[in-house]
């Protein structure tokens, strides 16, 4: 307790900022190195249509996943939810029109997220196992419905998937809006603070009066909604999808989140780190392609990036954790009673 009070008195999150600045430096350095080796990389067109566009679905899904990982959970089913909702919507749109397709995609996303949340929270099954099982289940339903065939894009998804404003893709605008919303949600609201509390000590959080069940279910539903959102863009961008195209997407999302400095053990992390990490992975992916490095080497490089970031964070982890606890208690203004205060405002 004393040491906590001491840290509270110290100046605010120096190290937390440093992590993100370090990530930012890495990002800029990568862009410069690749840009010097191959100047086409730095053109506006390439940046927008290749670098950014290819990562956006993963980027979108990484936002709610950050919330989930902060509560010490994980959602391995994100890729499956996206594909399932895209395929269900695409099939319905063929026979009943675009409107129904749009609705069905979103409904599937919400139902899948709700199913995950209810099983994890109400039946007390670990998020890892639940979402591993639903990873199979959702992908399996998508496979069964399509008999393994492709499903094609419809007018609405083709439009949103390829819409650009002067070379600025719609998906990037949606991502920016979502990123701002999620950043504020995590850092400025009582809801966000309760997520840290849940990740640090779930029992204590429950006893402090936070409606833990509702909060946890909410973030898995949010994850489902964002997956459905990503599904529109994904289906539109590729014009046809099969059930197995997103098999490793969950692992890519986890890579982004770990690189962004969120601890897989929960309670530590922030949205800005995730957002910078998304662009680091994007630059790495397309940068290596533009430099003609084979795709297998890219897999190795991504794995190495993940390993290095794991090592760095494990070394610096303990200190960071202390500081982030400080962030949590500071975020909502003065008073260490903020957690109890937050309970009353926790949104449904």
């Amino acid at each position: 307790m004393e040491s906590n009070m001491e840290t509270l008195a110290k100046p605010r999150k120096r190290s937390g900022l440093n992590f993100n600045i370090a990530l930012l430096v890495i990002l800029v350095a990568l862009i410069l190195i690749i840009g010097i080796r191959n100047p086409t990389f730095l053109t506006y067109n390439y940046m927008m249509s290749v670098v950014v566009k290819n990562i956006m679905e993963i980027g979108l899904m990484a936002l709610p996943m950050t919330l989930i990982v902060i509560t010490a959970g994980i959602d391995l089913s994100v890729g499956s939810i996206m594909i399932f909702s895209a395929i269900a919507g695409g099939m319905v749109a063929q026979s009943m029109g675009d409107g129904m397709g749009i609705l069905v995609t979103m409904a599937v996303g919400i139902i899948c997220g709700l199913a995950n949340g209810l099983i994890i929270v109400k039946l007390k099954i670990s998020p890892l196992i639940t979402t591993l099982a639903t990873f199979f289940l959702f992908r399996g339903i998508a496979k069964g419905m399509t008999q393994g065939d492709s499903v094609y894009s419809y007018d609405f998804t083709t439009a949103v998937g390829n819409m650009e404003f002067g070379g600025f893709p719609l998906v990037l605008i949606v991502f920016i809006v979502a990123a701002v919303v999620f950043t504020l949600l995590l850092s400025k609201t009582a809801f966000g603070r309760s997520l840290y509390a849940l990740g640090l000590n779930e029992n204590a959080t429950r006893y402090s009066g936070i409606k833990a069940d509702r909060t946890l279910i909410a973030i898995y539903v949010i994850s489902g909604v964002i997956c459905a959102l990503a599904a529109y863009f994904y289906l539109g961008r590729f014009s046809s999808v099969k059930f197995d195209v997103a098999n490793s997407m969950n692992l890519k999302v986890v890579t982004v989140i770990v690189l962004g400095g969120t601890s897989i053990l929960g309670g530590v992390g922030d949205m800005k780190g995730t957002i910078i990490a998304i662009f680091i992975i994007a630059v790495l992916n397309s940068g290596l392609t533009v430099m003609n490095i084979p795709i297998d080497v890219q897999t190795i490089i991504q794995g190495t990036v993940l390993i290095i970031s794991l090592i760095v964070y494990s070394i610096l982890g303990e200190r960071a954790k202390k500081r982030r606890i400080l962030d949590v208690s500071k975020a909502g203004g003065p008073g260490s009673g903020s957690i109890e205060g937050g309970a009353a405002q926790t949104p449904a």
Binding site: I129, F135, G140, R206, V258, T299, S314
Partner: protein, 349 residues
């Protein structure tokens, strides 16, 4: 003692339910599709069951120590390529089998060291090494190794017990029996459970927790090696992706078998039943006339159902035990937190 007796009862019923489920599937298949019991199909099922079970036993040890290994599939891919290299020279089964087991041992042991030395959660650590293994393979091999000699495929095609039963079944039987005895009687296995149940308590009783975890990975490695050998020798061509994704099925078999993912519990017999049920799903659906496209969905549903049943029985048990003061919902949750699904110390002398 009364408590431990009731827990023992619970452990029995988990496997009991699985057994009933398994028998139900078999009876239904007998009624719905007698062809299912053709010798050919039974042997195909048994072969798949064998290599799934061998890998699942290794995974079971890892999960008992409250870790998880998502690199299992990629290790199997590496093993397949390594033994293809060795087997291409015409080397007999024992030579490339040992090469495969050695490869599995080294890679899995590295995973274990990585997790314990750097104190990184197993799921992300093995996720990272998966990417390394999968990425490295195509650099070494262009697509696939083909035209493998008859000595390589000997295990799959010629090595039959009584002329029908695949030799892989004998492998699985010996390994399963060995590990059942090992888990029942060795002091080492008690330590594994202790580590999975409560790391700190285990440390305090003088167990070297990190060493136990590394050993669990090191034991699992050669088992992946055997599994990879059985998978790879099924044809004259070995590709670089033969095991990719198989880790999910392996984990599913272990979880279905009643091993809690939070560690400290789980029996080999449960894993045997879990692996057997999973290896029946796809062929059973084929023979009933359902499209096998639905088999992934059915597999997901079965795993989910199994963990839900286990969880509900634990929850209701806990509600009986705990007197809840105020917050009706909160206390059983708190209990579930400290004593997750089936965390019974499984071997109470």
């Amino acid at each position: 003692m009364g408590e431990s007796k009731s827990r023992f009862k619970k452990m029995l019923t988990t496997e009991f339910y699985l057994l009933i489920f398994l028998v139900a599937i078999l009876v239904i298949m007998k009624a719905a599709a007698p062809d299912f019991y053709s010798v050919n199909n039974i042997m195909t099922v048994l072969n798949y069951f064998s290599y799934l079970l061998i890998a699942a036993i290794g995974m079971n040890l890892i999960i008992i120590t409250s870790n998880i290994d998502v690199a299992a599939g990629s290790i199997i891919s590496v093993v397949a390529i390594v033994i293809a290299f060795v087997g291409k020279t015409g080397a007999p089964l024992p030579v490339f089998l040992i090469a495969g087991m050695g490869t599995g041992l080294v890679l899995s042991w590295l995973n274990g060291l990585f997790i314990t030395k750097l104190n990184i959660p197993a799921i992300v650590a093995t996720l990272a090494t998966t990417q390394l293994f999968i990425g490295a393979l195509p650099l070494v091999v262009e697509g696939s190794i083909y035209d493998l000699p008859a000595s390589f495929t000997w295990l799959a095609f010629q090595a039959k017990i009584f002329g029908v039963i695949p030799a892989s079944v004998a492998f699985a039987a010996v390994i399963t029996a060995g590990f059942m005895l090992f888990m029942r009687y060795s002091r080492f296995s008690k330590k594994l459970y202790a580590v999975g149940n409560n790391k700190h308590a285990a440390t305090l009783t003088g167990i070297n927790v990190n060493k136990m975890m590394v050993l669990a990975f090191a034991i699992a490695g050669p088992l992946y090696g055997i599994c990879g050998t059985i998978i790879a020798t099924a044809g004259q061509r070995v590709t670089t992706t033969m095991g990719n994704g198989f880790e999910m099925t392996i984990i599913a078999a272990v979880v279905l078998g009643g091993t809690s993912i939070s560690g400290g519990s789980g029996k080999i017999i449960g894993t045997v039943l879990g692996a057997f049920i999973l290896s029946l799903i796809t062929p059973a659906m084929n023979y009933i006339g359902l499209s096998s496209d639905w088999s992934d969905a059915v597999m997901g549903a079965i795993i989910l159902l199994a963990v839900i049943v286990a969880s509900i029985s634990t929850l209701t048990k806990n509600k009986k035990v705990i007197i809840v003061p105020d917050q009706g919902a909160a206390s059983p949750e708190a209990q579930a937190q400290t004593a997750p699904v089936g965390t019974a110390a499984p071997e109470v002398k």
